[in-house]
């Protein structure tokens, strides 16, 4: 930020002025705002093996890193050249291997690399280009030069986070952003889209491009979903794709759709269990052959992971002269590969200045800082390196330059590393993102990574003049054909929407019952009447969640009965081992939502995040939370879930995702209501009927309607009419069945078939049965005293059974999860 003489460097002046004008309080307020936005957008990253859970919020510091136009020009020329060089190196390694034969790089560096995918030998990607997307980690050393610390060629992560950082900062510091003439990122992503579209095999006019992810457990899954949404590509997992007759297809509700281009975020060695890692379930069998045949373009090409080794760095200057006939423009941090004897001795003699890294980082590994080791530890490290020198690389420990970071309510200097992103352009060259992902570590730190607690920063490239206002969010690149399609929904996605609907409905139903029970428990009443009121509610809750434990309530004295009711409610809410419990349903919502994150709007995701936070709070509250506190919590949960159903019914287009979500919800609600009635009312003693009917009305959110229609007289037939047969009541069973019948007729299916599908048949049968029911008759008591209302019981029992068959039929027809491919045992030799 400051030059050596202490003066603020010119391109920092606008921002400096803005920050000064704020004062500390305002800066703090804006930081809070940034954190709020990140939480709302659900920006997260996953840390493998983190006991605290799958996701952490993305850490963003609101003060951007600034680069002057001149600085950026140097950086851009350097990283673009590096991308070109690495691309040519890949073509050589999977082709003639002249670089190895001529000794420009020691043979072991690449031949021993686990990611040298020999199956890719001779595979020429479209246009001969291997590397379409590349990132370099850069640091500024104390002498002022930018140097590359590491190259990312596999499937570089972070561009999406850089974009998200920009979106957040654009809202936190709008004035400073505008006045600084910071360059926009959208053109970079437009180039990415154009490059990918141009990769499609010749003759394909409107190529189908997908983003291939490893799935929700991947460290940067959020980013992948975000990018897929921003770029307008379906986010697919390996199981969503299949290779038929040498072509790659996306499995959808409407059948198989050809895919032309894959933007790959899955590690290359996992891409094809047939020819690459056989133990990978994430890949697509036959993908490599399709790539060989040129029917699919993959960016980056399979095999680019071989360049991800720091051992490459010392040989880049020579490789650059050989492959490009020019000198390397951007220097690297001094790096030594220990596989050469003379180099090994140099490294061992200077270990205290070195950062030691594995040559082939196969998993998350921490670099070792020689300077931090005592004498004994240094000797141990030296012995380890000597045992297998070629497996180690040493890099000079550098003190990265610092940038201002908010800590407390003041700005402090902290070391920064920049990840710069490069995309292939339409010609032969590469375009560099006018920005970067900044990562800041603690004071004096130089191993900076998000997984180790670093914060991220937006990076602004300050132009001398006003910048283009282009944004990918508002305009599309080319005029596209108007479409109202929807048949191209991957089956896995439909599956997730279906379950999102079911779990949301289930969680809401349990929360509604739970809060009624909490409010009763909070009333100052005598145990006798309280126990009487609670019993039917708890019975309904049990019907919903199948809580197993608990003695027969009636057998207990009133006080114990109340305590026992309380216990059952807590179990129904918080027993995670109980698959039907509230907490299990809530977690399932989070899980399935994550699997379709690219298809959920920001608002919907905000609701999902809010629910997750509420659940986490509830768990922290523990099982002994007072009923009044728990009740308030459940109130909020009901509101959040109501928000979710509001969003889905008002903001989702009436296409397949909405239909599956709504089918899940309707099916669940019909089953829940039927179960709650069937398990309690037909066999209830006459004396218990009144509180039971009241509980059922409450649970179905229909008490108000009933009172308005019938005043206070609680009778079985009118209640059943309202909860089962009244088509105007959105909580009534028949309402759900009518919606289901509508959905199943609208699902994509084989138009040639005139027969009704089995799911249609089941839905219509269930609907007409309930429509035709004579409520008075079905609610009648049996002739013999004590037998209750058998007709009602069997009507609802049959209905539950039928709905389960309907669910099964839907699965068979549409949602059958991708059958897992299995490896064939290979014949043993000499057997």
């Amino acid at each position: 930020m400051r030059a050596r003489d202490g003066a603020v460097r010119p391109h920092w002046q606008v921002l400096e002025g803005a920050l000064k004008a704020f004062g500390p309080g305002e800066m703090w307020r804006r930081w809070e705002q940034a954190r709020q936005l990140i939480r709302q957008h659900g920006v997260t990253f996953n840390v493998y093996g983190d006991p605290r859970g799958l996701e952490r919020p993305w850490p963003l510091d609101p003060v951007p890193v600034l680069l002057s136009a001149d600085e950026f020009a140097v950086l851009a020329a350097g990283v673009a050249q590096r991308a070109t060089l690495l691309d040519r190196l890949l073509a050589d390694l999977y082709g003639p291997r002249r670089t190895i034969a001529e000794g420009v790089v020691p043979p072991e560096v690449f031949l021993a690399h686990p990611n040298l995918l020999r199956a890719c030998a001779g595979l020429t990607p479209p246009g001969g280009r291997f590397l379409h997307f590349y990132a370099a980690d850069l640091t500024r050393t104390p002498d002022g030069t930018l140097r590359v610390m590491a190259d990312r060629t596999q499937a570089p992560a972070g561009a999406g986070y850089a974009l998200e950082n920009r979106i957040v900062l654009g809202r936190v510091l709008p004035e400073a952003f505008r006045d600084s003439n910071a360059q926009r990122l959208a053109l970079f992503f437009r180039t990415l889209r154009e490059t990918l579209a141009a990769l499609a095999p010749q003759g394909v006019l409107n190529p189908r491009i997908v983003l291939l992810t490893a799935g929700p457990h991947n460290a940067t899954y959020f980013e992948q979903a975000f990018l897929a949404q921003y770029l307008g590509y379906p986010l697919v997992e390996g199981g969503d794709l299949t290779v038929r007759d040498g072509r790659v297809f996306l499995k959808t509700l409407g059948g198989l759709h050809p895919v032309d281009v894959i933007l790959r975020r899955l590690r290359d060695d996992y891409c094809d269990p047939l020819e690459l890692r056989a133990d990978s379930l994430l890949g697509v069998p036959g993908l490599l052959q399709a790539a060989r045949d040129g029917t699919i373009a993959i960016a980056n090409a399979i095999g680019t992971g071989v360049l991800q080794t720091p051992a490459l760095i010392p040989f880049l200057p020579g490789l650059c002269r050989m492959l490009l006939g020019e000198d390397l423009k951007l220097p690297s941090v001094e790096t030594w590969w220990c596989g050469e004897p003379a180099v090994l001795e140099h490294v061992i003699a200077n270990l205290n200045e070195m950062v030691v890294k594995p040559t082939y980082p196969l998993g998350p590994t921490d670099p070792i800082f020689g300077a931090r080791l005592d004498r004994a530890a240094t000797e141990t490290l030296a012995a380890t390196i000597r045992a297998t020198p070629s497996r180690f690389v040493a890099q000079r420990q550098v003190a990265p330059s610092t940038v201002p970071v908010i800590e407390g309510d003041e700005l402090r200097p902290r070391p920064v590393v920049l990840r710069s992103f490069v995309v292939a352009d339409g010609a032969d060259g590469y375009q560099v993102m006018p920005g970067a992902l900044g990562l800041v570590g603690g004071a004096g730190e130089s191993d900076i990574s998000i997984a180790r607690g670093a914060r991220s920063k937006d990076t602004w490239v300050i132009s001398d003049s006003a910048v283009s206002e282009f944004t990918l969010l508002r305009h599309t690149v080319e005029p596209v054909e108007l479409t109202r399609g929807g048949g191209d929904l991957p089956s896995r996605v439909a599956d997730n929407f279906f379950w999102l609907g079911r779990y949301a409905e289930r969680a809401e139903a349990i929360a509604r019952l739970g809060r009624i029970i909490c409010s009763r428990l909070a009333e100052p009443r005598d145990a006798q009447s309280l126990a009487g009121d609670l019993a039917p509610l708890v019975a309904s809750l049990r019907a919903l969640t199948m809580v197993a434990s608990g003695t027969e309530l009636a057998a207990l004295p009133p006080l114990a009965e109340v305590a026992q009711s309380n216990l059952i409610m807590r179990e129904a809410l918080f027993d995670e081992k109980l698959s039907g419990s509230f907490i299990a349903s809530g977690r399932a919502i989070d899980r399935v939502a994550r699997g379709i994150r690219d298809r959920l709007s920001m608002d919907t995701w905000t609701v999902v995040s809010a629910l997750a936070h509420e659940l986490a709070d509830a768990e922290r509250g523990g099982p002994d939370e007072r009923p009044i506190v728990l009740g308030a919590r459940l109130d909020r949960v009901v509101m959040i879930l109501a928000g979710l159903s509001g969003l889905t019914s008002e903001s989702m287009t009436r296409e397949a995702p909405w239909r599956f979500l709504d089918m899940g919800r309707r099916l669940e609600r019909a089953v829940n209501t039927a179960l709650m009635i069937e398990r309690t009312l037909p066999t209830a003693a006459a004396a218990d009927e009144q509180p039971l009917l009241e509980a059922l009305l409450d649970a179905a959110d229909s008490a108000m309607t009933y009172r308005r229609r019938y005043r206070a007289t609680l009778q079985v037939a009118p209640v059943i009419d309202l909860l089962v047969a009244d088509e105007r009541n959105p909580r009534a069973i028949v309402f759900q069945l009518a919606a289901l019948a509508d959905h199943v007729t609208s699902l994509p299916r084989d138009a040639a078939s005139a027969r009704r599908s089995s799911e249609e048949r089941l839905a219509f049968e269930a609907l007409s049965e309930i429509r035709l029911v004579d409520v008075e008759t079905v609610c009648a008591l049996a002739g013999e005293a004590g037998e209750g209302r058998p007709a009602l019981g069997s009507l609802l029992g049959d209905l539950v059974h039928k709905l389960q068959s309907l669910s099964d039929a839907l699965f068979t027809a549409y949602l059958t999860p991708a059958t897992i491919s299995r490896a064939l045992a290979s014949p043993e030799i000499g057997a």
Binding site: A101, G103, A121, L274, G286, Q289, D293, L824, G830
Partner: protein, 298 residues
Amino acid sequence: MIYRVKHVTSYRYSVPVSTSHHDLHVLLRGSPRQKIRSESLLVTPTPSVRRDRFDWFGNRATHLAIHERHSELTVTSQTELEVTAPAAPENDGGPWEATRDWVRAAADPEARAAFEWVLRSPHVDLSPAALDFAVPSFPPGRPLREAASDLMSRIHAQLTYDQEATDVSTSVDEVLRGGRGVCQDFAHVQIAAMRALGLPARYVSGYLATVPVPGKPRLVGADASHAWLSVCSPNFGNLGASGWLDLDPTNDVVPSDRHVVVAYGRDFDDVTPMRGVLLGGGHHQLHVSVDVAPISSP
């Protein structure tokens, strides 16, 4: 010698397979000592896709995709070829350390290319056990051919041929501990032992002539796919020809014109005769038969 080779691999599935993809290494590699006269590859059911290619090592590989529902898959390859015995190394190879140092120095293109054969590979871990096993055959200064042949004989003497003891995933250390295995295990053991010393060794998959030479016992590994190994040294001669010494530790012989080469690689994993990924299939039964018959008329 002129042979007609017939190699049949068949899988029978307990549950029908709706779609499958396969990668094969069954077509024979041609070379000056192995001239292919004719060949055919018959697959039932008929695959939707068949693509032939040369792999990283110059072997012939075949990709198949079958989209027809089937309960049985049969792959039959038939080849007629003329085999001459490999050219014998021009000399004893000199002290074995010279070859080790030649690879290590990586001073000429051939040495750099040979680096491929000294590194660990998926089935060949350069373990301390492999090194310990190698050492007695390699006293300082012993000529490479003599030392490697001695190692072959020791493997033959110390390991028992046993089709039940191992499977395709058994490691070299496990074979050394158990003392039993099939020819791919014998080959892997010797490859691991030589590489542990820094010597370049590659895995060869192929076949043996089925009918024994009159008066000699039938070799183990006939009627099935066979495996052995080759060791290279610039001192043996040109690496394109006589620079390789073939060794068959399963039979303790130096391969002659009775060994037919299919492919070579770093180990079994590079040249697996047949692999596949299926949808469906349940359990499967595998049956392999190989017939290598000499034909009289040239």
